[in-house]
């Protein structure tokens, strides 16, 4: 059977792709991942076996951008906290306790202006947000103008000016702990951090400390390290000003289909020796 396997379609992190597996599948030609992040795969190892790799950037971008905006808005208006107050029988509150912040006219700093980051900018523009972005490379002028985004070559300047910081980078050795104590201290004390990239891009301990001591105002995380986050006594789960969602980025009815379609497209291209729509090369 192992000689017959030519393609692997991964769901979440299964199967685990290690040397043993690769050695046991001599005719494996391609591995397609059911997401866009490839940080769980050893790209160099896989490539050394002559196996091609693909992700599905087109399929995931819209639902992930939507999830990012959902978290931005929910954290601005303290939605989860206030919903909980509304449905609980034993919580007393007054009007001043449940005020949030306005999104219109606020500054959004997008860290990582790739496909998903750009879709977030498009959505934020409709809310009349001022948009800053930081990226490895600058986007074309027309692209910047279309969303009214200003490039920040240094992340520091973005962090200092933003009311909302949205982290949308891929996880690489360079972006691990990109947002740590230093970066959090550069942010405004009222600022809100939203992470929809990977848990390891943010230093979670530093974040918990920053939230506890009022260094930043609030946070919303769709990704954590690890996933799931251990429930008992985790500092982030005890804070009122944190929303944590269980990696909902791609969780819509249609996205599942689109992911499979894009993965299959890549697999068929690889098996037929054709250029793959979203091949991932080891950097």
């Amino acid at each position: 059977l192992s000689k017959k396997v030519q393609a692997i379609y991964m769901w979440w992190h299964r199967p685990v792709i290690d040397r043993e597996l690769l050695q046991s599948l001599p005719n494996l030609k391609v591995i397609a991942n059911s997401g866009v992040g490839m940080d769980h795969l050893d790209l160099k190892l896989i490539s050394s076996f002559g196996v091609k790799m693909a992700n599905v950037p087109r399929a995931v971008s819209t639902s992930t951008a939507d999830a990012g905006m959902a978290l931005l808005l929910a954290s601005a208006r303290r939605l989860v906290e206030v919903h909980h107050i509304a449905i609980s029988s034993n919580v007393d509150y007054c009007e001043a306790d449940i005020l949030g912040v306005k999104v219109s006219g606020a500054t959004l700093g997008i860290v990582g202006m790739g496909r998903i980051g750009y879709k977030i900018a498009l959505r934020a523009k409709a809310f009349e947000m001022k948009i800053l972005y930081h990226n490895r490379t600058r986007r074309k002028a027309q692209e910047e103008q279309a969303v009214g985004a200003t490039y920040c070559e240094k992340i520091d300047s973005l962090l200092q000016q933003s009311d909302f910081v949205m982290v949308v980078v891929s996880l690489t050795p360079q972006t691990r702990n990109l947002i740590g104590k230093r970066e959090l201290e550069l942010m405004k004390p009222t600022a809100i951090l939203i992470n929809i990239s990977r848990g390891a891009v943010v230093d979670q301990e530093a974040l918990a400390m920053a939230l506890q001591t009022g260094v930043i105002g609030a946070a919303a995380l769709d990704v954590t390290c690890p996933e799931p986050l251990p429930r008992l006594d985790h500092p982030l789960l005890k804070l009122k000003n944190v929303i944590i969602t269980p990696h909902l980025g791609i969780k819509t009815d249609k996205t599942n289909y689109m992911i499979t379609e894009e993965a299959v497209e890549n697999i068929l291209a690889a098996l037929n020796g054709l250029p793959m729509p979203s091949e991932v090369l080891p950097s």
């Binding site: 819209t62 939507d66 808005l73 929910a74 219109s104 969780k251 599942n256």
Partner: protein, 233 residues
């Protein structure tokens, strides 16, 4: 008795539109439900269909009441990939609708064709109890209903039936009858109903502006001068 009435229109349009979209996204992506699973231990190993919600891409959005707030909501939803906007109300508003290519339709057609229904109309004798069994029974099983207008526009018993029987997928309410809802109200027990205690305009900036405007209305009224925003009775 010759008592003058001041009010605070316009200044809360943005905040209320933002809250309407926040509520729509929270309901269709199941944010409070999922956040609760993170705390309660429901979040375990990854499963492809767990906590799946609905996307806005290629959807039809129906706005009941295309006034200032309704238009502001439509404007914010457009870049999410909405394919079509429908609206209903006392009459067509071609100038307002043009920006979104929105089509004026009867209420029931809006119910039948919309993936997302957002209620942003004023409460009048015509709109009282308008969203009832007849309305909900025509909506799609996958649809999401959001009300940020007034509680009594919706028949709450019928909404409860719609949500618990799966006639619609989810709802988000910023307004109820009464406010607050009694703590044992059945709507509060539904996982697919996000309820907020009327925070449409609840931002620091907006409430400050409203307070100043209300104070100016009051002072002008007391001095017998024209008010910044007087309600003509």
């Amino acid at each position: 008795r010759g008592i003058r009435v001041g009010y605070t229109p316009d200044v809360l349009t943005d905040a209320t539109a933002e809250l309407s979209v926040a509520l729509l996204l929270s309901a269709c992506r199941r944010l409070p439900e999922a956040a609760e699973q993170v705390k309660s231990g429901g979040w375990t190993t990854w499963k492809p269909l767990w906590m799946c919600g609905y996307g806005l891409s290629d959807s039809t959005v129906g706005i009941i009441g295309l006034g200032r707030i309704g238009q502001a909501v439509a404007r914010r939803l457009k870049p999410f990939g909405v394919k079509k906007f429908l609206y209903t109300g006392s009459g067509p508003k071609p100038e307002s609708a043009a920006e979104f290519g929105a089509e004026f339709v009867p209420l029931m057609r809006l119910a039948e064709e919309s993936d997302f229904v957002v209620v942003t109309c004023a409460l009048t004798p015509a709109t009282q109890g308008m969203c009832n069994k007849d309305f909900f029974s025509r909506m799609k099983k996958t649809s999401v209903f959001v009300n940020t207008s007034r509680g009594t526009v919706v028949n709450q018993e019928d909404l409860y039936e719609a949500l618990s029987q799966g006639w619609i997928a989810a709802a988000g309410l910023d307004v109820t009858t009464p406010e607050p809802l009694p703590t044992d109200h059945p709507l509060l027990s539904l996982k697919n109903c996000v309820i907020l205690p009327h925070i449409g305009s609840a931002t620091y900036a907006t409430r400050s502006t409203m307070a100043v405007l209300a104070a100016n209305n009051l002072l002008s009224g007391l001095r017998g001068e024209p008010m910044p925003h007087e309600l003509k009775l």
